[in-house]
């Protein structure tokens, strides 16, 4: 099947026309259990890519590995042509690959606006000695605050500007975390279940935000369970099961893929994903 993203037909591990992230032979074992064993995968630049698969498939672990929060037993990966294996998480972020977490990490006892300001990179005032000399960082701080306010308005959090992040609802925290990640002007933003726990009323606007990111030239990689969302906004879908990439392609094609239907969608298309989860865990043991 021809498409404009991959070189040749879409298949697990296929080459992309313009990849931003390329991972090779990434393996992570916990005790005897292999959580991740990705032979080769490429993430297309400037597109929205969904990473799907049953719970326990290793999606979050793969995220942790790519962003340096966990160390693989073996494997290499490059971002924008530069090696990223073994690089500390904060350096990964500085290179333009910024992630969010499945369990939101809003900084509860900081105000919403301070959460946002913290997201900005290369702040002069974050140096110990410079922090004493206000004139050194005042102008930058104003600039950061202005762009934070713009983002807050876009994410409809401007009314909460001075509230503690801890007082926000679960969905609002998700939004805040995403907005905060954008403060760092990432080239690739990695969202771990951005929809989980978000009020359905907010879902639509969140989808719009993600689409906006793409139009601004940001690449998006996200983990999601909600098939509706995947179908709706993603350009490309990668399916993981038991640590491996089992299928990939444009969403419409992947949904039809027999391997995916068998492994994940078919038999349980109408069942709650919670049941799938438990069965797959049991199968894993």
């Amino acid at each position: 099947m021809a498409n404009e993203i991959s070189i040749g037909a879409a298949a697990p591990g296929c080459k992309k026309v313009d990849p931003i992230l390329i991972a090779d032979k990434v393996v992570r074992q916990f005790g005897g259990l292999t959580a991740v064993s990705v032979d080769h995968v490429e993430i297309p630049r400037g597109k929205i890519t969904a990473l799907i698969g049953p719970n326990g498939a290793g999606k979050t672990t793969f995220f942790n590995l790519l962003t340096g929060f966990d160390k693989p037993n073996s494997g290499t990966w490059t971002f924008d042509g530069k090696n990223l294996a073994g690089v500390a998480p904060y350096k990964v972020a500085r290179r333009g690959m910024i992630r969010t977490f499945q369990l939101t990490k809003a900084l509860s006892l900081l105000t919403v606006i301070d959460n946002m300001r913290l997201g900005a990179q290369n702040q002069v005032g974050e140096g110990f000695f410079a922090s004493f000399v206000r004139p050194l960082w005042k102008a930058q701080e104003n600039q950061i605050t202005a762009s934070a306010d713009t983002l807050l308005t876009r994410f409809k959090l401007d009314a909460k500007r001075e509230d503690y992040a801890g007082s926000l609802s679960g969905g609002q925290r998700k939004l805040l975390e995403m907005a905060r990640a954008l403060m760092g002007k990432p080239k690739l933003v990695m969202l771990d279940e951005p929809m989980a726990g978000v009020n359905p009323a907010l879902t639509q606007s969140l989808l719009e935000h993600i689409k906006d990111l793409k139009s601004n030239g940001t690449t998006v990689l996200f983990v999601e369970h909600d098939m509706h969302m995947v179908r709706h906004i993603s350009d490309w879908v990668i399916v993981m099961a038991e640590g491996k990439v089992v299928a990939e392609g444009p969403p419409a094609d992947v949904m039809k893929d027999q391997a995916v239907i068998d492994a994940y969608l078919g038999a349980h298309a109408d069942t709650d994903l919670g049941t799938v989860e438990i069965k797959s865990i049991k199968a894993g043991i």
Binding site: A88, A93, L118, G125, F128, W137, A181, M183
Partner: protein, 328 residues
């Protein structure tokens, strides 16, 4: 002992160099724990290194007062680095165990006969403050009456210097914590992985916080030993650290004036309680207590206050109710 006498003692406790020593350690701990979330249970070691560093530089190296202060600071900074580099990557509760262990190990070491040629062993070091007291610009015959307590010229000088240092430390902390630098620290306190994901070198910030908070504590240690000009290992036991925690939590861990207020309240209160208990014991109203045991009651109260504060008022007296400082 009459009431005026007791209140004079309590009033003296409010401003005494010992109180200031604890307050400065509390301010350092506020930076560690209140702002950065580091569970440092070895604050006594930082203070001890300030005291020992100063004394040793003065007595053995014959350095002047500024060099000696600098040496005390360098000692505690070095200790912070040695302790922090391996442990700041670990979980918070590990840091608690390692800092308390390191502080005890240091105290055993300086008190041992192996270290005696340098540290004076269990007897410690003394008479290192001549230059400090020579700097006293106040008239030598000046006295200051605080009820029944009379302060000499050099005692007044000591207190003035001590409180100026507190003022500087508070201002220093104020400037730091209103800056983007302080914002990163607070972020780390809330969730260090989140801050890492935003591109901040969390380890470096924690180390900076540990070093700076430790330096403030070492200034506290210098003032603590300067008033009596004696520095002994027994000053720096775990109880020193526990009292520091108590005064920090009493005032409010993430507040600027919390440790100052906490320290003053704590020591004034302790003096009042000890005097009151002493009177009751003397009057035979507490037959199960001996006079010597009254001092032990102080530590019992430290433990009790620490427990009750953490359970019922974790934000302290000055803290915002919302700003509860623990994340388990």
């Amino acid at each position: 002992m009459d009431l005026i006498g007791i209140f004079s003692l309590a009033g003296n406790a409010l401003i005494s160099p010992m109180t200031v020593g604890y307050i400065l350690c509390g301010i350092g701990l506020a930076l560690h724990f209140g702002y950065t979330g580091l569970l440092n249970f070895g604050q006594a070691a930082f203070a001890a290194l300030g005291g020992y560093g100063f004394a040793i530089a003065t007595l053995d190296f014959h350095w002047n007062i500024w060099g000696s202060i600098l040496f005390g600071l360098i000692c505690s900074m070095g200790f912070a680095a040695i302790l922090g580099i391996p442990t700041l990557r670990l979980r918070a509760d590990y840091l608690a165990i390692v800092t308390i262990a390191a502080a005890q190990a240091l105290r055993f070491y300086v008190g041992s006969s192996t270290a005696e040629p340098i540290t004076g062993g269990s007897a410690g070091v003394s008479q290192f403050g001549e230059e400090f007291y020579n700097l006293n610009p106040l008239p030598a015959d000046l006295t200051f009456n605080l009820g029944t307590v009379t302060l000499t010229s050099s005692e007044v000088w000591m207190r003035i210097v001590a409180w100026v240092v507190v003022g500087i430390a508070v201002f220093f902390l104020y400037a730091l914590t209103r800056s983007p630098w302080g914002r990163v620290l607070k972020g780390i306190r809330e969730d260090e992985d989140a801050v890492r994901a935003l591109g901040k070198n969390v380890f470096s910030y924690k180390l900076q916080a540990l070093v700076i908070g430790g330096s403030i504590a070492s200034l506290g240690g210098m003032i603590f030993v300067m008033s009596s000009q004696t520095n002994q290992p027994s000053n720096w036991g775990t109880n020193f650290t526990f009292i520091t925690w108590t005064i920090l939590l009493l005032g409010g861990a993430a507040t600027l004036l919390g440790p100052v207020l906490g320290g003053m309240i704590f020591f004034a209160l302790m003096t009042l309680i000890e005097s009151a208990l002493g009177i009751l014991v003397d009057a035979g109203l507490l037959p199960f207590l001996q006079v010597e045991q009254v001092a032990q009651i102080r530590f019992l109260l430290v433990g009790l206050i620490l427990m009750l504060l953490v359970i019922f008022r974790p934000q302290g007296f000055l803290g915002n109710k919302k700003e509860i400082q623990f994340n388990g």
